[in-house]
Symmetry: C2
Subunit: 411 residues, 2 copies
Amino acid sequence: MECANFVSQIYVMPKISQKAVAMPPSPIRKLVPYSEAAKAAGKKVYHLNIGQPDIETPEVVRNEMKAIDVKVIEYSNSDGIASYKKGLAGYYQSKGIQIDSSNLMVTTGGSEALIFAFMTCLNPGDEVIIPEPFYANYNGFAVMAGVKVVPVQSFIESGFALPPISSFEEKITDKTKAILICNPGNPTGYLYSKEELEQLRDLVLKHDLFLFADEVYREFMYDGAIPHSVLNLAGLENHAVMIDSVSKRYSMCGARIGALVTRNSEVMGMAMKFAQARLSPPTFGQIASEAALETPQSYFEGVVAEYVKRRDILVNGLNAIEGVICPKPKGAFYCIAKLPIDNSDKFCQWMLEEFSFENQTVMMAPATGFYATPGAGVNEVRLAYVLNEESLRNAVRCLEVALQEYPGKLV
Amino acid sequence: MECANFVSQIYVMPKISQKAVAMPPSPIRKLVPYSEAAKAAGKKVYHLNIGQPDIETPEVVRNEMKAIDVKVIEYSNSDGIASYKKGLAGYYQSKGIQIDSSNLMVTTGGSEALIFAFMTCLNPGDEVIIPEPFYANYNGFAVMAGVKVVPVQSFIESGFALPPISSFEEKITDKTKAILICNPGNPTGYLYSKEELEQLRDLVLKHDLFLFADEVYREFMYDGAIPHSVLNLAGLENHAVMIDSVSKRYSMCGARIGALVTRNSEVMGMAMKFAQARLSPPTFGQIASEAALETPQSYFEGVVAEYVKRRDILVNGLNAIEGVICPKPKGAFYCIAKLPIDNSDKFCQWMLEEFSFENQTVMMAPATGFYATPGAGVNEVRLAYVLNEESLRNAVRCLEVALQEYPGKLV
């Protein structure tokens, strides 16, 4: 007893969990200390690392927030404010997705919607197949739910098209419970065709899997491309779970409002228990999101035109640099670029710590964090074209110079 | 192959997870369909089931929200807006808790803070000891983290005082990783003395456990009582993790802003990875919370005086009913009452479905959901005294009549 006491007194620190250790740091945010230091040293840093657009939140939202006149800022229902749920169902209907408000739940961002989907549908140890590269935070949500991510690699050479269905089939085990896609894709900007989605539909029906689809970039489609929702795939009523968010749609990432949408009423009913445990999604954000439903179509047209311009500056600029390959995105506002470098983690850190060109530098996300296959993406970076034209031109110029100066460049 | 296809086509529904099945429904919200039906039938329902106060949010908050003048509603840092973190550290210092902003992280409500604490500190299968009755949603967070709740029963006869330390020691196994308390207590209103907290301190040091303390009701202390934070227990620097929230403090539950506070920098660093995965806490709520730091002391004095009045009306009223026992709470705004009934789940449902007195009824939370021991709390209910005096008097009168009419009353 004496001895046990003694031991605990020198240890004086209980162990943290395996999940905490296993949680990956965000490849999008992990270099923040270096960018802070660069800024403190007076460097201008172009933030292409994070999908925080500079696009203004619609005026209808900002006006509504000023007009809030409640005496008590109350909890909402756990599945969201009823009038917002109804309005949101109307938004989906306007996009050709025929669901009603009983098929959706308001969540705290798309992040929470995916955590609820994982927790509701998958047991610890179950496997979810995800075409890689994929949104890095899927790894974190998988760790939280104790779920294993099984990647199926897509390739920059084919513009990150859906890998052949046979490569999914190879990965299916008796632990496989779901496939997760992001469409249009973060980080690739790839947009799945109807035919690709139908191939996935047949596959999940054959193996009785859930098909989770992160469709938060629905409004960001270029060159006349048309988005297809998994909710419109016939026969998937009980298999399709759609993840949505207002963050990018209305440039209000800070509202933290998303949605879990499915016609599977068992999933919805069970997810409701997770929703009740955390009480409610943010009330202010819901008020903002309900106001945002009145955003005029002209807003989106303006935003899309702006992103097309930005994409073209960034992607054309990148492809003009020797040794750089960057497929042209059809949607969202990211791209993956393959660079003539040894290691993207080192390169991105070097850009912040060591490099400057006319006292400027660029912050990017190393693509390694967007792959689950070890070593994949080691010479790729993810860039978000969320800054204005001039900033993007400067960023491309910086990158061009940096690729000449970087000690780990591949010649 | 034909056969496999055929099977999947009749099954057409993948199985949900064991966690989803295991998640308990909220005892606070599970009777909502019955209350909705009662209201639809024209009955006045007094909501004593949920801690949604009618107290006004401070005017400084409401004014600040109208004055928000940003063009883009951006993500904040994952651990919160730096100026709010600094201000919040100042609030704790003013309460005698000497921490700085590096010891705290802003979360999406107290709920998320506790989920992060569980996920960071406990492995699936690990055990957390909680004196019961306890806030029902702890069960849900435990299911999410795969953690086992081990209850130590406290008793209404002793006003829900801390059970003897020996009853904790009996429950400690090699899976025990933490003790969780709520102080002042929801649902009991009990306030742990300095001596009780020191007993817990010695226990967690002896066994090298984490001590999680939910201190969200800090401002709601009556009759001159003084709150003691686990952060002020000497020697617990690496063991104490405090959960906080602005929801009740400023009557702004809908803001969804909480905090995880600890001097254990490893826990804070690891929790940061969970925080990064979900990007950021709500921006609007943080702006409101930062404004709330300017709430004048007179606001809290007014609120406390109001709750003392309400508590006295409810608790004295309850104790005046034959066969009812209700210890007087020293803090928070809940009480547990033991009623002369067969079953509190049945009784609470009956109150909504079958009963009315002068076209009014009362919604309460069956206490069974606040215990982990099967059968415990079967004749107890939790009541939140969050309504005005007149409503509380009417609610007590309703309850008195109901207890005479209820078919399952114990004579």
